[in-house]
Amino acid sequence: MKEIALPRARVTLSPYRIGQIVIGALFIVFVAWRLYTVLVQGAYGPDTWMRFAISGLIIGAVYAVIAIGYTLVYGIMFMINFAHGEIMMIGAFSGYFVFEALNTASVGSSATANFLNTYPVISIILAFLAGMTVSTVGGILLERIAYRPLRGAPRLVPLISAIGASIFLQNAAQLMFGPGRRNYINPNLLSRGSGLTLMINDSPVIITYTGIFTFILSILLMIGLYVLVQRTRFGRAMRAVAENKQTAALMGIDVDGVISQTFAISGTLAGAAGVMWGIHNGIIYHFVGFIPGLKAFTAAVLGGIGNIPGAMLGGMFLGIIEAIGPAALGINFQLKDVLAFSILVLVLIFRPSGILGEVLTEEKI
C-alpha cells in the first residue's frame, strides 16, 4: 500500500522505520568496532586471508549452483522449494554409491586395480551422471506429487507441503542409509588435501584440486544454464511463463510442462552440486542438504530472488562472507551460520529485492 503523498505531509517515523534505523546503526557500529580491533591486532597475515577467500569462493560457487535452483522455481511458481536441499542430498548419495561401486569393481586380471582409479575421469563423469539423473527425477517427482495438486491454492499451502516433503526426504534417507556420516571416496586424481601451492609471505597456501574442480565445474554449469535460459526456445518459454502464466498459455506454451522442466533443471543443478559437495567436503549424511539449502536460499534472496545472475552473485558473496566474516569480525567460527542468517535478515530488512533484484510487481508479491 502506497501512502498518498500530500503536500507538506508530516514525516512520521513508523515503528518499522525506527527499527530499521536502530538495527542498521547497531550493525554498522558493531562491524566497524570488530574490524578495527581485528585489524589493529593483526591476528591474521595475508596468507590466512587468502586461504579464507579461496575456500569462500569454492563454497560460494556451490551455493550459487544450488541457489539457481531456488531462483528458477521461485521465478516461475513464486514459492520456496523447501525440499531443494534434500534433492541435493539425494544427488550426493547417488554419486557416493557410484564411487563405492566403482571402488570395489576390479578391472582386468590384477586384483589391486579398481575401476575408480584406473579410469578416474570416466568414474567422475559416471558419478555426476548418476547424481544429476537421480536428482532430476527427484525434482520432477517432487513437483508432480507435492506441488502440482496444489496449483492455485493459497500461498501457505504449497509452502507447507514443501516443508513436509523436505522432512520426509530427510528422514527417508536417514532410515535407508542410516544416521552415520559417510566418507566420500574420491578417485586418487581428486584426492583431498593435495593441490596447487602458492607462496604468500613465505607460507604455503594450498588450493586443492577438488576446489579447483568444483569451482570450474560450477562456473561451467552456470554458463550453461545462462545460455539455456537466454538463448534457447525452452528458455524463452520459461521466461514467458515466469512473466505471466495466462498469457504464456495463450501463446501456446505448455505451462505445466515448462514448470515440470524447470523443476527438472533445478534438480539437475542440485544433483551436480551434491556430488561436488561430496567430492570437495568429503562427508555426507542424511542432513547434508539442509544447511546448504538454507544458505543457498539466503544467497538467492541476497542476489534478488527470481534473478539468475543475482543468485550466482549472491552465492559467491555469501560464500566469501561466511569464510572471511568470522575472522574479520573476530568472532568464533562456530557462529558462521549465525552470520549467514543475520545477513539474510539484514538483506530482507533493508533491501528485500536483493542486490540485483527488480522491484516485484504486485501480482508476484
Binding site: 509452502l159 513436509g164 532410515l175 557462529l335 542468517f341 539474510l344
Partner: protein, 544 residues
C-alpha cells in the same frame, strides 16, 4: 479393456514403488511385528507369526492396489474391474518378485548390503522372502500380489453397488431425525447444558491425572505442553496467517529465562518459580516484538525463512562457546527450580500435570476471547486479504506484532513449564524439530481451531507414545502427513467452521452452519434452511 489394463498397470507400478520404499526403510519388518503383536500371533524365534503378519500387511496393500486399479469408469462392468485389479496385482507381483529375488540372490552371494542400506541385514532379507528360499519367496510375492490385486478389484466393484447410495441416504435421514429431536436440540444449544458439559470436563480433567501413574502423567504432560505451544502458534499461523518456522526460539527464551534465574549453578540466582513465570512470559513476548518489528513487513514465505533462521540463531548462540559462561553452552542449564505452593514443592509428575492443565485452560480462555474479539476478526481479515484488511482500517502491522507477541508469550509459558519439569534445559531441547512438530500439529489439527490443535497434539505427540515400535517412523510420517493433508484436506482434521467453508463449498446435505454466533436466539424463521444456498445473515433474516 485397454484403458482398464493401463489403469491397473499404473496403479500396480505406483504401489510397487511405494512398497519397495517401505522395504528400504525397514517399515515392513516393524509393522509386521506390530501386527503380529496386535492380533496375538506367536512371535517367538523360529515361529511363523511375523511372516503371517507380513503377508497380511502386503496382502492389504495388494487389495488397495487392486482397488485403485479397478477405479470407476463408464460403463462400470465387472469384467473391467477384474481386468484392472488383475493387471495391478500382476504388475505389483512382478516388480516385488524381481526386487526380492534380487535382494535374496545378492545376499546369498555374500554381498553385504547392510553397509550401504542399513535395513538390509541378512535377517531382514530372509524375512521379506517369507523365511523360504529365494525362488520360493519371489514366487510367493508374485502369487500373493496377483491374488490380492484381483480380490481388491472385485471388492472395489462390489462396494460401488447401488446399495451404497441408499445407505448414505438412510444415514443422512437418520442424522437429520436425531439432530432435530427436541432433546438433542436442547442439549446442543442450551446454555445450561453447555455449562454442565464444561463442569463434567473440569471434573474429568481433575480426576484423570490422579488416576494415572508417573509415566502417563509425564507423557500427557508433554502432550499438554505441545497443546500450549500449538495454541500459541495457532494464533500466529492459524488466525493471523503468519508462517513462523522459528517458534522454538520463544520456547527457548522461556526455558532459558527460568534456567538462568533459578538455577543456583549458573549465576547464583534462586528466584521463586512464581516470580519467574511472569518474567519469562514477558521476556518471550518482548523477544517476539523485537523480532517482529523488523521482519513482519516481509511477505509470507520470506517470513518463514527469516523466523527459521532466527530459531537456528538462538540455538547456535546458546550452544556456542562464546555464550557458554552465560548460558551454559552445550551442557545446558541444570538444577532448574520447580514451583511450590505454601512451601510444599511440586515433587510429582501429577502436580505438574495439574499445572499444565491449568495453563492450557488459561490459554484456551485467552485464545477464545481473542478470537471473537475485534483484534481476532482483524487477524482473520488480514489472513484472508491483507490489502483489503488495510483498506477497511486495520493497522495490519500492529495486528501482526500483537499476534506475534501473544504467540511468543504462550511459547514462553510452555518453555518455562518444560524446563521446570525436566529441571534441565539445553540447546538440543530447542532444535528445529520442535518448531516443526508444533507447526505440524497446528496444521494437521486444523488451523485456527482450538479443538483442532488439541486433537492434533494428541495425534502427533500422543499416538507415537502408544505405538512405541513405530516411533522411528514418526518424523517421516509427519512429513508425509503434511504433504497429504495439504493435498486432501488443507483445513485440518478438526477445522474451524470458517476455514471449512473457505476450502470447501457447503455440500448440499451438510447441516447448517450458524453464520452468526447468536443465530440461535433469532426467531424460528431465521434458522438456516438446509436447502437454500443463500447465506442467511441476520440482516436477511430481518427482511424475511
Amino acid at each position: 479393456m485397454n484403458t482398464s489394463i493401463r489403469k491397473g498397470l499404473r496403479s500396480g507400478l505406483i504401489f510397487s514403488t511405494g512398497i519397495v520404499f517401505l522395504v528400504l526403510i525397514g517399515f515392513t519388518t516393524t509393522i509386521s511385528e506390530l501386527i503380529a503383536e496386535g492380533i496375538n500371533l506367536d512371535t517367538t524365534a523360529g515361529s511363523t507369526g511375523n511372516v503371517y503378519a507380513l503377508s497380511l500387511f502386503l496382502g492389504l496393500l495388494g487389495l488397495w492396489a487392486g482397488a485403485r486399479g479397478a477405479e470407476k469408469s463408464e460403463p462400470d462392468t465387472w469384467s473391467k474391474a477384474t481386468v484392472g485389479g488383475l493387471a495391478a496385482g500382476v504388475a505389483l507381483g512382478i516388480v516385488m518378485a524381481v526386487f526380492t529375488w534380487l535382494l535374496g540372490t545378492l545376499s546369498a552371494a555374500g554381498v553385504d548390503l547392510r553397509k550401504q542400506l542399513v535395513q538390509f541385514s541378512k535377517a531382514n532379507i530372509d524375512f521379506i522372502l517369507f523365511q523360504t528360499s529365494v525362488v520360493n519367496g519371489a514366487l510367493m510375492h508374485m502369487a500373493l500380489f496377483t491374488l490380492s490385486g484381483l480380490a481388491g478389484g472385485l471388492i472395489a466393484r462390489g462396494l460401488r453397488g447401488s446399495w451404497r447410495e441408499s445407505l448414505r441416504v438412510w444415514w443422512a435421514s437418520q442424522r437429520d431425525r436425531i439432530s432435530q429431536t427436541s432433546a438433542v436440540e436442547y442439549l446442543r444449544t442450551s446454555t445450561i447444558a453447555r455449562y454442565i458439559y464444561y463442569g463434567l470436563l473440569l471434573v474429568l480433567l481433575f480426576l484423570i491425572p490422579s488416576r494415572l501413574g508417573q509415566y502417563w502423567n509425564f507423557t500427557l504432560g508433554t502432550v499438554g505442553i505441545y497443546v500450549l505451544m500449538g495454541l500459541g502458534l495457532n494464533i500466529v499461523v492459524g488466525l493471523a496467517g503468519l508462517l513462523d518456522l522459528g517458534y522454538v526460539a520463544f520456547f527457548a527464551v522461556g526455558a532459558y529465562t527460568i534456567g538462568l534465574l533459578t538455577s543456583p549453578t549458573m549465576h547464583g540466582l534462586t528466584w521463586n518459580f512464581w516470580l519467574v513465570l511472569p518474567v519469562g512470559i514477558l521476556m518471550a513476548a518482548f523477544t517476539g516484538i523485537l523480532l517482529g518489528i523488523p521482519v513482519l513487513r516481509l511477505r509470507g514465505d520470506y517470513l518463514a525463512i527469516v523466523t527459521l533462521g532466527f530459531g537456528e540463531i538462538i540455538r547456535i548462540l546458546v550452544k556456542s562457546d562464546m555464550l557458554a559462561p552465560f548460558a551454559g553452552g552445550p551442557q545446558g542449564v541444570r538444577d532448574i527450580a520447580g514451583p511450590s505452593i505454601f512451601g510444599v514443592p511440586f515433587s510429582d509428575e501429577r502436580d505438574f500435570m495439574y499445572l499444565i492443565i491449568l495453563g492450557i485452560l488459561l490459554v484456551i480462555f485467552v485464545t477464545n476471547r481473542l478470537q471473537n474479539s475485534r483484534i481476532g476478526r482483524a487477524w482473520i481479515a488480514m489472513r484472508e486479504d491483507e490489502t483489503v484488511a488495510q483498506a477497511v482500517g486495520i493497522n495490519t502491522y500492529r495486528a501482526k506484532l500483537l499476534a506475534f507477541a501473544i504467540g511468543a508469550a504462550f511459547a514462553g509459558l510452555g518453555g518455562i513449564l518444560f524446563a521446570s519439569r525436566n529441571q534441565y534445559t539445553g540447546p538440543e531441547d530447542h532444535n528445529l524439530l520442535v518448531s516443526i512438530n508444533v507447526l505440524s500439529l497446528v496444521i494437521v489439527g486444523g488451523m485456527g481451531s482450538i479443538p483442532g490443535v488439541i486433537a492434533g497434539a494428541f495425534v502427533l505427540k500422543g499416538l507415537p507414545e502408544i505405538l512405541r515400535q513405530i516411533s522411528d517412523y514418526r518424523i517421516l510420517a509427519f512429513g508425509a502427513l503434511l504433504v497429504v493433508m495439504m493435498i486432501l484436506r488443507p483445513e485440518g482434521i478438526w477445522p474451524s467452521s470458517r476455514r471449512r467453508l473457505e476450502f470447501h463449498d457447503v455440500p448440499e446435505e451438510a447441516p447448517p452452519e450458524p453464520v452468526h454466533p447468536r443465530s440461535a436466539d433469532l426467531p424460528e424463521t431465521a434458522g438456516l434452511d438446509a436447502t437454500s444456498d443463500v447465506p442467511v445473515s441476520t440482516d436477511v433474516a430481518g427482511e424475511m
